[in-house]
Amino acid sequence: MWDYTDKVKDHFLRPRNVGELEGANAIGETGSLNCGDALKLFLKVNENERIVDATFMTFGCASAVASSSALTEIIKGMTLTEAAKLTNEDISDYLGGLPKEKMHCSVMGQAALRKAIANYRGIQILEKPGQVVCECFDVTDLEITDAVKKNGLKTTEDVTNYLKAGGGCGKCLDRIEELIESVNA
């Protein structure tokens, strides 16, 4: 069984701010049914760019629900500029930490928040260079070869721990292995 903190358990069993938010003017979605977790974040932002309300809908494990719940609690009252600086570690810290295999749940929170802010500002998030290899976590071949080179990664497991790539549906693991081999060749 996962070693969840009491705070993770609490936010899983009594999640705060669940459901669609009426009058939301910023929405950020990340993840998918295929990879096993997904988060839809709703924000109500006032004329001073302050987040006056936030809710979520999440499909996923206990730590995904807890991370989403924590995220909404953290960002309520923040300005968008403040919220944009939030990292996945902030979400994890708020919950007293997450098991390392579950860190991607907090990454999902951060990603949904970035997308919601971009959505509010009407900014299109730019496509990253390279070809997407891991569709679950949106990681490209360039990002993978870069990480392999810089950190001397040897196995697909290393890549998953580093970039999350390959940690979802697993369909791209063969491709990741090829990329590791091409770098180390």
């Binding site: 996962w2 096993g36 499909f59 998953t160």
Partner: protein, 390 residues
Amino acid sequence: MKIVYTDNNATTKVADEVIQEMLPYFGEFYGNPSSMHTFGDQTAKKIKEARQRVADLIHADPEEIVFTSCGTESDNSAVYSAINACPDKKHIITSNVEHPAVNNLFKLLKRTKGYRVTFVPVDKKGLLNLDVLYKSLSDDTALVSLMWANNETGVLFPIAEIAQKIREKGILFHTDAVQAAGKIPIDVRTSGVDMLSLSGHKIHAPKGVGVLYIRKGVKFSPFFIGGHQEKGRRGGTENSVSIIGLGKAAELAKAHLPVMDTEVRNLRDYLQNQLLEKIPSCSVNGDLEKRLPNTLSIGFDAVEGESILLMLDREGICASSGSACTSGSLDPSHVLMAMEVPFKSAHGSIRFSLSHYNTREEMDHIIAALVPVIERLRAMSPFWKDGKVV
């Protein structure tokens, strides 16, 4: 809180009768069964009785029974023995839904020893593609290893039919019967397998003891090199206490087979039908007929397995899931993926595996608990709206 234990494919309660049978051998009768004195021989005699009881469960000769430490050791021993027996053959066959004890070993042999491995696929019901299996047999094939019953779905492979075809070709055949033993009748004489693995803790014996059946006349090379124990087929002082417990468990399992086929099956069917009726958008994984009587794998659309399990845990209900988030890895169950179970229900698949200790009241408790759990999780799922998947 009362525990409702429906995770019997993971492990089982050690039967009270088994504990009673073992107790004297923890304490008073600690002798080594190999010793040349009456004190040790008391243990040897009891092990002999256990060997007979295990043999009776699968209709084997006691001399064909080798005690090991677990199902995984039995599987590894069988596979290594088979490839050692035919060093010139470089092809081995298994299915793509095996337990890691076989699956990972085959992958290792492929990677490190250059074996050509055929992973025979299953269809959407989890049934083995026999066409692919038979067509892949060749003069170069050293071993075919296939599970009798799948641990996640309970789906059965037609082992007797397969074993016959494979033996006609002179190829060694091993079956991992860890999940089948004690749940359905097993007869090694009529099924004609060369080697068969089973595990004590799946049939109400303690953990740490397993069995490898090796048919008389099959060449065997030991995995553990050591003393003369088990007629030189498995070195190491016998785990006498657990072996004695396994003997009793095997005797009980044989007596309980009719109960499995009637009472346990009825409970499983009751649970299955009530859940299908009371919860929309859920479906059973695996063939409904060719399936163990105790196993129900059921997928709930648009929710995730770990969340379901942790909420059931609060009600004292023990089950397991094929979902990614419960195993240390993030990969979804390779069994459900091989069956092409759609992602929408694969991630929310829960396995209930029953034993004769379960009751109708317990099934009612599970049903009463699960309905609101699924409703609650769907209420927060972005993929569920107005009573259906979006």
